[in-house]
Symmetry: C2
Subunit: 190 residues, 2 copies
DNA sequence: GTCTATAGATCGATAGAC
DNA sequence: GTCTATCGATCTATAGAC
């Protein structure tokens, strides 16, 4: 029997898949073991504190991905309209290629809710703030920018629920497109 | 010790509370027993198939509530603008008074997902369809009405996630208000 | 119709060989 | 670093007294 040696980031990737498919609580160590092919010993080698460590590692990776591919581009892309459109496209691709599940949103329900409440809060607050700042750079005045950004993030998150409920990726694509259009039409010069 | 005799609807109400607070999977029979004060024997008397029966009973009650207080009013209220505004108000009140949790949305994640997939699909499809029909009665043309309705339901559902994440009911109130305004401004004569 | 006691399965986590 | 074996706790569900 082959003994596969893997590093922590392989394990985190595999865990993220299981958690997206089964949820945090349903994904028991037995199914994690089966679906990832990683033995119990290895899991506890990489994540000594067990399931909580695994959840934290997965959320940290998601957070890093959004920092790099969503939040930072929103802040640094010169043209606000371009920044908004890129966000819509990137986020749509991300979620449709990952079972239409946002693991931070999943963390707002269930047992471990409290343990990660601050991380969840910061993830959504940072997303909304980065988008609102982009809108302000594009000429949208303060209270409107904050509302528009919050509504946009809410609509995207709700689209994930509907896409799962209706089993239809087109829901995500349509919402991404219309959210993009709505945000761009709020920018000056449109 | 008092022996309280209760009927099934009392049990369903108590169960809904537990599921909203703890989620479907986290709410084990032990915590259900503790938090509802209903003994194990009684629970299996009312719900012979166990937890799945409990989940179905709770979802059925939620479904009935929405049929009566949301879907039917959308279809029968004469003035479309009035119907839309009533929906926004009623839904906002419902969710903010129930831990900001939509149990049908919660069912799109986790273990029992498959068992209730059809009920979940129908709940959201009926909501979107009823709202789209109201918009059409108000003069909105077909493709736009469907998109507007879907986006509205998505935004409301996403607002629940953000309200939990940011621990702030104002998110729900703000989204309800702006969704109402956006829908009304799409109706003819605005 | 409600209770307690408990069966049987599965859980998360640990130990120790290799 | 990975494995298997296994612990104690907890889970859902059942049985039987009242």
């Amino acid at each position: 029997m082959a003994r596969t040696v893997l590093d922590r980031s392989d394990a985190v990737r595999a865990l993220a898949g299981v958690f997206r498919r089964r949820g945090f609580e349903s994904g028991s160590l037995s199914v994690i073991q089966q679906e990832t092919g990683i033995g119990r010993g290895s899991l506890y080698h990489f994540f000594p504190a067990g399931k909580t460590d695994m959840a934290r590692a997965v959320l940290d990776e998601v957070r890093r991905w959004f920092d790099e591919n969503v939040f930072e581009p929103l802040r640094t892309t010169e043209d606000p309209a371009e920044a908004v459109t890129a966000m819509a496209r990137v986020v749509d691709e991300y979620f449709t290629s990952r079972n239409r599940v946002c693991l931070f949103a999943a963390m707002t329900l269930g047992d471990e809710q409290d343990a990660f409440a601050e991380d969840v809060r910061r993830y959504f607050a940072d997303w909304i703030d980065a988008l609102a700042a982009t809108l302000r750079r594009g000429g949208v005045t303060e209270p409107a920018a904050a509302d528009l950004a919050l509504d946009a993030v809410a609509t995207i998150q709700g689209a994930l629920i509907l896409a799962r409920a209706l089993d239809d990726d087109a829901v995500c694509h349509g919402v991404a497109q219309r959210t993009n259009a709505r945000l761009r039409s709020a920018l000056t010069g449109h």
